[in-house]
Amino acid sequence: MSPILYLSDSVDLKKFTNGEFIIEPSALSRFGKLDLKKTNLLSKEAKENGHKVYLEWDILMVEKDFIKSVEFFKQIDLKNIDAIRVQDPGAINWCLENTTHDLHLNLETGNHNYLGIKSWLEKGKSRISRIVLSIEWSKSQLEELLPRLSCPVEFLGMGRILLFYTPRYLLNVGLSNRESTLEVGDTGHWLEAAGQSEESPHKGFPLLENRHGTFMFLPSDHCLLDYLKDLKEVGISYLRLDNRFMSKELLESVLEQVKAPSIEGFQRVKEISEARLIRGFYNTNKSDVLFKKLKNHRIQRRDENYLGQILDVNKKNYLAIKLKNPKKTLSLGDNLCLQTPDGKTKYLTVNWLKDCAGNDKDQASGEDLVFVNHVGGVSVRASVYFSHE
């Protein structure tokens, strides 16, 4: 697995052989700090040192920003760029039609199934030389997916977990001494903070506001450096190490661990890291389990015997039933089964049946609202079925 790092002045290019680096111009990248001149200079330097350079274009863009981004893009010295990393579908489409470079497709948002990924690869044909997958893919899901893919996959090995991305400027507002020399949205605009809420058990969410908007990260960082063998076996080809928010010391121990994995090496990474390290959803992703319980399934209609719903209960006097099954007719003498929202089942034989005006009826159907004799223990919103008991 080849490690990939982000390029900046603080990276000593000479220390690496055949390295792979992502270059982030501030105009195109969410967390980029480089202007055009620096982008061209650093990528040239990296190339001269024998490394591969990938241009990060991962911002999301409304039309006005898209046009500006394209203008900027056209000024980059592309001969020093080996591939373009794109995320906004607009950027993907534009690059496919207007460049000849390899594309690394960032599929970290909204791509959680094989068919979708296959469809992206078909769209890009041979131009897509790498896909970047979301860390929400669990190991077992990756095991199923990767053998089916024709394209190498990149995965985050270690780094911050981005939780939230908005183009709105949310942090600057809270400062009493608003930025005066730099306008919000300017190239150099960069504001960092940490947030916490009494309503969340997590403390110290890293926050960042820059020209592209506001970002929030999880206080814990993602780290799979104790699973390197595993990742290789699963079929991950490239491991991204997000050094943008790492100290020099931490980066050194991270690189050491990737080069020669060991339990001690991993322990050292853990000790140096300021953030708690987690594996996220790698071992299992059950994030759809909890919310399935948010709903009361007892009050949902289920089968062809469904008749309607109880709208009113008047103790010892009557029940009001809203008929909801146009295929069914309710008649005097029918046996009904009533299922209450709290899980009780009650039975009732229809001894009398009246319409809203109090007229006696023999039958009711369609969407009629009818009143019948009362039975104890039934509450409003109970489901009414014909009973065969």
């Binding site: 039309e63 709105r168 949310l170 504001l191 709208l311 009113d312």
Partner: protein, 396 residues
């Protein structure tokens, strides 16, 4: 005038679907039991979907079904069966968020595909790409201005749907996973815990600190900009809110339907009617309103600086369950009220009619001094009252 855009309203349940349609929605969107983003909403069983489509079509309205979760492989396994049902019952379109779902729809049915706002389609090139994948309409990201919407429609030659009213995610749609990591609930498959509405204390690197609901967005409200929606050629104006109640579904739909009718006759909304629409919109529970990014990129004025609160000017007293002309209306009570209270009946078209609950009787004609939610009561007959009209009460 230009072509009238479709008014698309939320339908969180069959009742709300009927209310939205009767109050003037040209189309409604709703979800089945799976595949959507509002897992805590009642949603529709297959039978209810069938009934909803028949009801909507019989009133000339369309039904779109959301499949807009970011679906995982295991979710897609059971999707084909559901798609067959949707085609059979003649659903008018499905709203999807990802390519895998699009491919599954294409290979299993011929139901038109609309791209959900979850996919954050923000520019012309993006719309072109989705079109090349079989999408007929894009629901644009809420960050897109009306000027950009026009350009996207014209240059990508695709139908565009733009939100005009309702709650807004502060994040780019589909780009928030706070709930995934803090609550173990996938916000992009229906588990959002609304952490963006929390109050946070913020410690700035510079040493300052503050406390605020800095990630909470005001609600979108665009009635004053409706003529611009029309001028931009927007195909569908969308109201958010499948989780909200019948009062919301009915009132918001009615206001925008009335305003669209006015624009069929005049180029602009008159100041009087605009004042009326604004006052009606205030009667529904809402956060402070903002026009979001409809005219220009949303700025700090779009941040909602309060913790959630329950202040509301009006509440729905009930829904008319039946009418016996010249005698009484039978009301299904949603919020308690007292005998003697002044109530307002909201007809499907036209202004509300005030009336007093001089008598409140149950089915066996016993007087109810105070009603309770979930009972049926007889109120004095109001001329023009129809089944499923809303009855509301002023609180402040």
């Amino acid at each position: 005038m230009r072509t009238r855009p479709e008014l698309l309203s939320p339908a969180g349940s069959l009742d709300k679907l009927k209310i939205a349609v009767l109050y003037g929605a040209d189309a409604v969107y709703c979800g089945g039991q799976k595949f959507g983003l509002r897992m805590a909403s009642d949603n529709f069983t297959n039978e209810e979907l069938k009934e909803g489509v028949v009801f909507a079509h019989s009133h000339g309205s369309k039904v779109y079904v959301v499949l807009n979760g970011f679906l995982h492989d295991e979710d897609l396994e059971t999707l084909p069966e559901f798609l067959k049902l949707l085609e059979e019952i003649k659903v008018d379109a499905v709203i999807v968020s990802d390519l895998g779902t699009i491919e599954t729809v294409k290979s299993n049915c011929k139901v038109p595909i609309h791209l959900s706002t979850q996919a954050s389609c923000l520019n012309v090139e993006s719309a072109k790409l989705w079109k090349s994948k079989g999408v007929e309409r894009v629901v644009l990201g809420r960050e897109v201005t009306l000027t950009d919407a026009k350009e996207i429609k014209e240059k990508a030659e695709i139908e565009v749907e733009v939100f005009i009213h309702g709650s807004m995610c502060m994040a780019y749609s589909g780009n928030c996973t706070i709930s995934n990591y803090t609550q173990g609930r996938d916000s992009n498959r229906g588990g959002c815990a609304h952490s963006c509405r929390f109050e946070y204390s913020i410690d700035y690197a510079e040493g300052e600190n503050s406390k605020s609901t800095f990630m909470s967005s005001k609600d979108l409200e665009g009635v004053a900009l409706l003529p611009e929606f029309v001028a931009a050629g927007v195909d569908s104006i969308k109201v958010e809110g499948r989780m909200k109640g019948p009062h919301y579904a009915g009132t918001i739909t009615k206001i925008y339907a009335d305003a669209l009718r006015e624009l069929e006759v005049n180029e602009k909304l008159s100041p009087e009617s605009l004042a009326y629409y604004d006052s009606e919109l205030l009667k529904v529970t809402h956060r402070d309103y903002s026009s979001g990014s409809l005219s220009h990129a949303a700025g700090e004025e779009s941040i909602y600086s309060e913790r959630e609160h329950d202040d509301k000017e009006y509440e729905v007293s009930g829904v008319v369950a039946d009418v016996v002309a010249n005698e009484f209306i039978l009301l299904e009570v949603r919020h308690a009220f007292f005998v003697g209270d002044e109530l307002e009946l909201m007809p499907f078209v036209g202004k509300s009619q005030k009336f007093r609950a001089k008598t409140v009787l149950n089915f066996i004609n016993e007087t109810r001094e105070k009603t309770k939610p979930g009972e049926l009561v007889k109120l004095p007959w109001v001329p023009g009252a129809e089944k499923l009209n809303l009855v509301r009460r002023r609180l402040v």
